[in-house]
C-alpha cells in the first residue's frame, strides 16, 4: 500500500514536470514582441512564540510574468526554531536551536481565450533540516468562464518525506502523500464573491514523531506508533462581501475536516477589512477552532495505555480534543503617495504588519504570531 502511494506521488511529480515542460515550450514559441513584463518582489519576517517554542522565519519571493502570460516564481525561507525540547509532548527539557531551509519554484501560464481563461501551474518545494527532508511537487489548473466570473480549479500534489532521529542513528522513516483538491468560485454580484473547496489527502508511511514515546501501564516507554495510513478530507466555503457605504469588506469562512483516524474539526473564521483613508487598510479577524480526538488517543487525562494494549499509540498533543480562539489585526500601508516624485519606483510598495494572539488550553498553550513584510510590484 505504501509503495502504491509512493508511485502515485511520483505520478504527481511527473504531471508537474510535464506541465512545467509544456509551459516552457509554449513560452519559447509565444510572440512576446508587445507588452511589458510585470512581477512582484516580496520580503517577510514571520514570528511565532509559545510556551516552549520560538520560531522566526525570514522569507523572500520573486514572481515574474511575461507579456505572453508565462509566470515564474521562486521563494526561499529559513525556519529558525528555538525549542525547550526536541520532542514536543515529552518531559525532556534541553534548549536547542535548529534550522530548516526551504526552497520553492513554480512555472505557470495563462491562456486568454477572450471571455474565458485557462491557467496551468506546476511547482516544487524542497525542505531540509537535520532530521527531516521533504520533496513536494504539484500541478494546478483552473478554468474561468462566464465573462471570467465563474472559476473551477483542480489540483494534485505529491509529497515524499524522509524522517530521521538525531538521537537514534538507526531510525529511518518514510512518508508519502497525495493530495487532490477541487475548488469553485463565483462572482455573485458586483459586491459578493463565493468560493467552495474540497480536498482529499492520502498519507502513508511513518506518521509519528521519532522523539515522542508512549507507555503501557507498568512497562517501559516505546516510540509512539500511530497507524501507517491516514486519509483526510476537508470541505470549505468562503464568502466576501464589500460594503461601499463604509468602504469595508466582510469575509466569512468555514471548514469542516474529518479523517480516517476519527478526528473531526470545525474552523469558522470572520475577517473584517476597513479602508482608512487612501493608503491604509486595517484587517481584523477572529478564528475559532475545535477538534475531537483520534480513536487511539490514550484515555483523557493520562498519557498511558492499559496493560497489554497492542494497538496504535500516540503522545501527540494535537491528536486529543481541544478548542482555541484567535484574534488578529493587520495594518497595510501603500506608498502610492510617492507616485510622480523622486521615489516614484517605491510608489508600488505595500508594507504590512500583523499581530495575532491565540488562546489554546492544550499542552502547547497560548501563542502569538507576528509578521512584518513588504511587496514591490513592477
Amino acid at each position: 500500500m505504501i509503495a502504491r502511494t509512493a508511485r502515485m506521488a511520483r505520478i504527481a511529480f511527473l504531471l508537474a514536470w510535464l506541465i512545467a515542460s509544456g509551459v516552457a515550450v509554449a513560452s519559447v514559441r509565444a510572440d512576446e514582441a508587445s507588452g511589458t513584463w510585470s512581477g512582484e518582489i516580496e520580503g517577510r519576517g514571520n514570528y511565532y512564540l509559545e510556551r516552549s517554542n520560538r520560531i522566526m522565519i525570514p522569507t523572500g519571493r520573486v514572481a515574474v510574468e511575461s507579456p505572453g502570460g508565462v509566470r515564474v516564481h521562486a521563494d526561499y525561507l529559513v525556519d529558525i526554531i528555538t525549542s525547550a525540547s526536541i520532542a514536543t509532548g515529552t518531559t525532556d527539557d534541553k534548549v536547542f536551536t535548529e534550522l530548516r531551509h526551504g526552497v520553492g519554484a513554480g512555472l505557470g501560464k495563462t491562456f486568454d481565450l477572450g471571455s474565458s481563461e485557462f491557467n496551468l501551474d506546476a511547482y516544487g518545494v524542497y525542505s531540509t533540516e537535520s532530521d527531516y527532508k521533504s520533496w513536494l511537487f504539484g500541478a494546478r489548473g483552473s478554468f474561468a468562464w462566464n465573462q471570467k466570473t465563474s472559476t473551477v480549479s483542480l489540483g494534485v500534489t505529491g509529497v515524499s518525506d524522509r524522517i530521521y532521529s538525531t538521537r537514534d542513528p538507526l531510525f529511518r522513516g518514510e512518508l508519502h502523500g497525495l493530495t487532490a483538491s477541487v475548488g469553485f468560485s463565483q462572482v455573485l454580484s458586483p459586491r459578493l464573491v463565493l468560493s467552495l473547496g474540497y480536498q482529499f489527502v492520502l498519507l502513508e508511511g511513518y506518521l509519528g514523531n521519532p522523539y515522542r514515546s508512549t507507555q503501557n501501564e507498568g512497562q517501559a516507554s516505546l516510540r509512539e506508533h500511530p497507524p501507517e495510513q491516514r486519509i483526510r478530507y476537508n470541505v470549505e466555503a468562503q464568502l466576501a462581501w464589500y460594503i461601499p457605504a463604509t468602504r469595508s469588506t466582510l469575509q466569512a469562512y468555514a471548514r469542516y475536516y474529518t479523517d480516517s483516524w476519527d478526528l473531526r474539526a470545525i474552523t469558522p473564521e470572520v475577517r473584517f477589512y476597513q479602508d482608512l483613508g487612501r493608503y491604509w487598510n486595517l484587517r481584523l479577524r477572529f478564528r475559532y477552532y475545535e477538534q475531537g480526538e483520534v480513536y487511539f488517543a490514550p484515555s483523557s487525562g493520562t498519557t498511558k495505555y492499559p496493560v497489554g494494549y497492542a494497538g496504535p499509540t500516540t503522545n501527540d498533543p494535537k491528536l486529543v480534543a481541544f478548542h482555541s480562539q484567535q484574534l488578529g489585526a493587520r495594518l497595510s500601508f501603500s506608498l502610492l503617495g510617492l507616485e510622480g516624485g523622486l521615489l516614484d519606483f517605491a510608489s508600488r510598495v505595500v508594507l504590512d504588519v500583523s499581530f495575532d494572539r491565540q488562546w489554546c488550553p492544550n499542552f502547547f498553550g497560548n501563542n502569538i504570531m507576528g509578521s512584518l513584510g513588504g511587496r514591490l510590484a513592477f
Binding site: Q186, Y211, Y233, A265, Y273, M369
Partner: protein, 78 residues
C-alpha cells in the same frame, strides 16, 4: 466518511457550483469593488503558507485556503 458519502457530497458541491454559475454575469465595468482588499479570497500566499505550517504543527486538521500541503518537518512538528 465513507466513499459513497464522499461522492455524494462532491456531487452536491458540483450541483451548487453549477447553479451559482447560472447567476447573471457581472460585467467588467461593474467590477471596481472586486479589486478592494478582502475581495480576493486567496491573497498573501506567503503569509497563508506560514499560517498553514504553524496550524498543521499545532492542530489535528489541515488543509484549505488554497495552501500548498506540507506533511510536516522537524521541531516535533509532525
Amino acid at each position: 466518511m465513507s466513499l459513497r458519502s464522499c461522492i455524494a457530497s462532491s456531487v452536491l458541491a458540483l450541483g451548487v457550483s453549477l447553479s451559482a454559475s447560472a447567476c447573471a454575469a457581472v460585467h467588467p465595468y461593474e467590477r471596481e469593488y472586486l479589486t478592494r482588499p478582502g475581495m480576493d479570497l486567496h491573497p498573501d500566499a506567503m503569509t497563508a503558507e506560514f499560517e498553514a505550517h504553524v496550524q498543521s504543527a499545532r492542530e489535528g486538521a489541515i488543509g484549505g485556503r488554497n495552501t500548498v500541503e506540507s506533511t510536516g518537518g522537524g521541531c516535533g512538528c509532525n
